[in-house]
Symmetry: C2
Subunit: 215 residues, 2 copies
C-alpha cells in the first residue's frame, strides 16, 4: 500500500515535470513568434494552451484521489498538496506564454519588438524558458536549493524587465505610446512567468524540508 502510494507520488511528479516542459516549450515558441512575427507559430502556442489546462486538471484529480484514498500525512501530505499548488502555477506560466503569443498575433504582420529591444526580449524568453526546464529537472530530482537557484535567475529577469521599462520611458524613445504600452505589458508577462517559477521552486523545497512558505 505504502509502496504503491510512493509510485503514485512519483507519477504525480512526472505529470508536473511534463507540465514544466510544456510551459518551457510554449515560452520558447511564443518568444520566437514574437521576435519573428510568425503568426502560425503564435497560433500554435495559443492552440496548445489547453494541453496545459488539461494537464493541470488531471494532476489535481490525481492528487485529490490520493488524498481521498490514501489519507497521507506529514511529508507525503505536504508533497501531495505541493503538487496541486505547483500544477496551478505551471498552468499560469502557460497562460503567460500564451499572452505573449497573443501579443505577437495582434501585432502581425508587424514586429511588436523594435530592433533595439530584440536582444533583451530574446534573453527574457531564453532565461524564462530555462527556468521552466530547471524546474522540470528539480521536480523529479533533489529540490534542495531550488528556491535559491531560481530566485537568483529571477534577478536576471527583473533587471532585463527594468531595462525595458527604462528604455521605453526614456527621452530617446522613438516608437510612440502604443508601442511602449504594449512592451511594458509584454515585459511583465515574462516577469510574472519567472515569478511563478520561483514560487514553484519555493514550494517544492518546502515540501521536502518541512515548513510552509508564507509566500
Amino acid at each position: 500500500m505504502r509502496e504503491k502510494f510512493h509510485d503514485e507520488l512519483a507519477e504525480l511528479g512526472n505529470q508536473l515535470t511534463n507540465m514544466c516542459r510544456l510551459a518551457a516549450e510554449s515560452m520558447r515558441r511564443a518568444n520566437t513568434a514574437l521576435l519573428t512575427a510568425d503568426l502560425a507559430l503564435a497560433e500554435q502556442v495559443l492552440g496548445s494552451d489547453s494541453d496545459l489546462d488539461d494537464a493541470r486538471a488531471e494532476c489535481e484529480i490525481h492528487a485529490q484521489s490520493l488524498l481521498a484514498l490514501q489519507a497521507p500525512v506529514a511529508g507525503d501530505l505536504r508533497t501531495t498538496l505541493a503538487a496541486v499548488y505547483c500544477a496551478e502555477k505551471i498552468e499560469r506560466m502557460g497562460d503567460l506564454a500564451a499572452h505573449i503569443a497573443d501579443t505577437a498575433r495582434f501585432g502581425h504582420p508587424d514586429r511588436v519588438v523594435p530592433a533595439e529591444l530584440e536582444a533583451t526580449f530574446a534573453e527574457l524568453g531564453d532565461v524564462a524558458a530555462g527556468m521552466a526546464d530547471r524546474l522540470a529537472e528539480r521536480i523529479t530530482g533533489d529540490a534542495t536549493g531550488a528556491y535559491a537557484e531560481l530566485h537568483e535567475t529571477d534577478n536576471t529577469i527583473d533587471s532585463l524587465h527594468a531595462g525595458v521599462l527604462r528604455l521605453i520611458t526614456g527621452d530617446r524613445w522613438e516608437h510612440g505610446v502604443q508601442s511602449a504600452t504594449s512592451l511594458a505589458l509584454l515585459a511583465r508577462f515574462y516577469e510574472r512567468f519567472a515569478d511563478q517559477a520561483v514560487s514553484v521552486a519555493k514550494r517544492l523545497e518546502f515540501a521536502e524540508t518541512g515548513g510552509l512558505p508564507s509566500r
Copy 2:
C-alpha cells in the same frame, strides 16, 4: 467527530471571509491613495499586506491539519482543498492592491491618474473592491451562481480596462509615454484582481456542486 469537522470547516470559511474583507479594504484604500496621492494611506496598504500573507499561511496550516487528522473525502475534501486554493488567490488580490498603492507611492507627490481618467479608476477600484465584498458574503452563504455573478461583474472591469488602454494609446493622449506605461500596468492590476475574484467564485461553486473547473 464529524460535527467537530464541520465546525472546523466553518472556521476555515470564516478565515477566508476575513481575508476577502482585508482584500476589499486594501483595494479601497489603495484606490483612494492613488486618486488623492495620499502617501500615508499608500504606505498603510503596503504595511498591512503582510496581514493577508499571514492569514493565508494560517488558512493553509489549518487546512493541512484537517487533511492530516480527519482525512476528509468527497465534498468535504473538495471544500478543504478549495479553501487552500482560494486563500492563495485572495492573498494575490492583496498583492495587486499593494501594487496599486506602490504606484501611488512612487508617483507621490504627483497624481498618477490624470483628470480625464479619474472617474474610470474610481469605478475600477469600487467595482473590484465590491467583488471582494461579494465573495466574503458568498463564502459563508450559498455559493450557487457565484461564478456567473462575479463573471458578469468582471465584464465591467474588462470594459473599463479596455477604455483605459484605448485612451492612453489614442491620438489625443497628452501625458506622454511614461504616464501611459504606468497607467497600462495599473489598469492591469485591477483587471487581475477581478480575475482572481472570479477564480475564487468558480472554485467555491465547484466545491459545492462537484466537478473540478479546468480553469
